[in-house]
Subunit: 203 residues, 2 copies
DNA sequence: TCGGTGATTGACTGATCAGTCAACCTGGTA
DNA sequence: TACCAGGTTGACTGATCAGTCAATCACCGA
């Protein structure tokens, strides 16, 4: 791209991406048209294809962009020596839950349209999704090594259950009503970490 | 349907349903054709529409049929006075995990093609999905009332995390390799119940 | 044997839509 | 001012497919 237009060009690209997220969230990837995205972005149909290779490519980018942020946070949480295992897990859960709080459409698209589509996007991005599992598993594994968490549950298993728990909570918010107040979201994170770490057995 | 043909008719209907499950699992609901189902079932295209109202209707039936079994098991587990809370949860988890062991295609379709499609099937069947959450929540709630489980985690929240954990485990099996040996599946159930009830904190 | 009902067939229709393309516009540069 | 590269337009094409339907078949009871 020519230097002089980079800024404006990038902005338009972003506008299309944002419009696509809204359209995907409202109608679903499989039930919307590329023309819906163009309309939502207020541009001509063909311009979408000037900025993106294909409809699939737009969804890929929405997912990868968000997921990269999440992987970063997981790495950060794993690397921060000052945190306890619970705090690390809470940091990961908080990021995901707050992502939903701030960008519910994006998270809906990531979870509903990508993560679970076994035969298309899910399978395509499975390795990337596993990176998140692996990062969480590493947090658990290191805490097990120091005795901070019990060692008789496989870390990768714990990670999958932990992530699955968050995802299902978000799913219930997507299908029903999500908590609008930050305090409610904070409480969800607390309950999640407490359930996974503390367990449901009486104290 | 005329009495004389009921048996054969029901059998053919079942054959189409089974073929559809195989096709949906392999290609995904959105990427297969009704003609694929007909081919897989070894029948003419038009016959599919003699037995089913629409392509969507077939998926609905696959989901509802399986989900009804699950709801039954959850009710059973909740009602059986001889079981502890852990045993009730283990019973539910075992049924789901063993459903996958016996009918991986069906479970893949239920989880991947229905459960998470927020804008089409997911939303349509959300109330039914919630019935399962509610059943599990009831198990938790009653155990909390007797002091068998701690009372400071909302039952509905615990239920969502529990179900989400199972679902994510199955998802990882669907995308990767599922354990083929019954013992491995049994261990998965044990780990799940242990994680949710016992927690990851050291004993 | 005949009549009729449900089962079965597959060609066809109508609609949908992703992606292409040739023309046009615009704003910066020489 | 003239030029041009990238931005922008939207009509069009080609392919795909869900669902229809008129014709044919097969089996049962009368």
């Amino acid at each position: 791209m020519a230097p002089r237009t980079t800024a404006a060009s990038a902005e338009k690209r972003r506008a299309i991406l944002d419009a696509a997220v809204r359209v995907f969230a409202e109608r679903g990837f499989n039930h919307c048209r590329v023309s819906d995205i163009a309309d939502e972005a207020g541009i001509a149909y063909g311009l979408v294809y000037h900025y993106f290779k294909s409809k699939d490519g737009i969804l890929d980018e929405v997912f990868l962009e968000r997921w990269a942020l999440m992987l970063e946070v997981i790495e950060e949480a794993a690397a921060d020596e000052s945190l306890s295992a619970r705090e690390r897990l809470a940091k990961v859960a908080t990021f995901i839950v707050e992502s939903y709080g701030r960008h519910p459409d994006v998270m809906q698209v990531v979870i509903v349209e990508v993560t679970r589509q076994a035969n298309t996007f899910g399978r395509k991005h499975w390795a990337t999704i596993q990176d998140a599992h692996a990062g969480i598993a590493r947090i658990v594994e290191r805490a097990q090594a120091t005795g901070e968490l019990r060692a008789d549950i496989p870390p990768s298993f714990a990670a999958i259950v932990f992530y699955g728990g968050i995802e299902q909570v978000l799913t219930s918010w997507i299908f029903d009503t999500a908590p609008s107040r930050p305090a409610d979201r904070r409480r969800a994170v607390e309950h999640l970490v407490e359930t996974i770490c503390g367990g449901l057995d009486p104290r």
